[in-house]
Symmetry: C2
Subunit: 220 residues, 2 copies
DNA sequence: CAATCAAGTCACCAAACGGTGACGCGCCCT
DNA sequence: AGGGCGCGTCACCGTTTGGTGACTTGATTG
């Protein structure tokens, strides 16, 4: 008596009072899908990132994702395309009125800028977490795009400043970037990192001070 | 002759050529499950870490996981129990014949030890990646256990050495640990980190040198 | 008006997932 | 001998997943 189809039929009619007709606008739908994908990835993480979930959030049929983006892969690629502009969108190019006289000045400033930019971009945070958790082709593309953009940024900001002789700038900077990324990820996930609380702004001040000290220690 | 009224009996007999009878040994099965879980997590990562996969690898029925460990949560907890001994199992307590005169000596040595230990422990690597990717209760327990063990280790190794005044040791060390962890994770996932290749042992020598320089820069 | 083609929807598929109840079997104990 | 009791297995449930074919609907053509 529960699952009686005769009873359900009128109910189904009663439900679709207003079908909320979807407009027939491909480019708008494409944008909606991309936006849904980005917000989903940013809020839920890569764990529950799938065709069904994206379609659900975009409010459209998943078939459209296959049609317009060729599946999840294409969608991820589309996300990665924006990633190249990340640094230039989120990080100010000017030096904030400061005069950067030495390479140490520069790296101190860039470190803090990078830290802050990463702190308030949940999408890129998730992507970084994704990069260190999986090794699929998708992720590798994302990683490459981000890595390249980052390197360009570093190089562009360097300007005419010359790093100190005798130190492996690439390696040292990689370690600094690694530290910042892991610090932010760790904080975002559990509110702390290796016993250092990272919740209040006071916590972050301590972290920033320590980071500055490290940068100054190696670059003078 | 037996109480088998089924007509399919001969078919079943034909299929199960050798039943490969599982021995009735609870503790052995428990160990097999735990081992399977650890190896699965280490090799495949937390993505495909589920009841079915563990049971499949352990070669037993998933029901036994529920019975013996109370589900995946209990199993993860059992994994976490071993984690407390990780540092003491994987990292030598002695100083390798070195005389550590200053806090800088100590931290340089500990950094490299931690780096190497993490580099050849895929399980803990996966757990660290898990920690920065999810925020469930499971992961939080793992994270806490590891974090506590790490802090204890640092404190124990410090001995009577006194860190330099005026620097926030906790914060600086957290950043150093973060850097090492992310470096290893990144290398393990994609073979590089922020443009720094991390595949050959020569690559790692460069990374180690840079790390030493950073530690020395901040701790003298 | 009629034909066409893209936009959007629906129904269905096989597979895998976590989870549970029930059953068979063998060992031990009285 | 017989009655538990613990170990292992199996079948099944509902749900979700990625993926595909077939359909309706609407607008713009000739």
């Amino acid at each position: 008596m529960l699952n009686d189809p005769m009873v359900l039929a009128p109910v189904a009619d009663a439900i679709r009072v207003e079908p909320e007709k979807r407009i027939r606008d491909r480019s708008a739908t494409e944008k909606a899908i991309l936006k849904a994908a980005k917000s989903l990835l940013a809020e839920e993480g890569f764990q529950n990132f799938g065709i069904n979930a994206v379609a659900r959030r975009a409010g459209c049929d998943k078939q459209l994702i296959y049609r317009y983006y060729g599946g999840l892969n294409g969608l991820v690629e589309a996300i990665g395309a924006d990633l190249g502009n990340w640094v230039k969108d989120r990080i100010p190019e000017d030096t904030g009125g400061m005069f950067l006289l030495t390479y140490g000045d520069l790296m101190e400033r860039l470190s803090l800028l990078f830290l802050e930019a990463l702190r308030d971009d949940p999408l890129v945070r998730r992507i970084v977490a994704w990069e260190v958790s999986e090794n699929t082709e998708q992720v590798r593309r994302l990683s490459e795009a981000r890595s390249k953009a980052l390197a360009n940024w570093l190089d562009r900001m360097r300007g005419s400043l010359t790093p100190p002789k005798g130190v492996d700038v690439v390696a040292v900077n990689a370690i600094l970037i690694a530290a910042i990324q892991h610090l932010v990820l760790s904080a975002s996930a559990g509110g702390q990192c290796a016993g250092l609380a990272l919740k209040t702004s006071k916590d972050w001040e301590k972290a920033a001070t320590a980071l500055k000290r490290i940068v100054r220690g190696v670059y003078g």
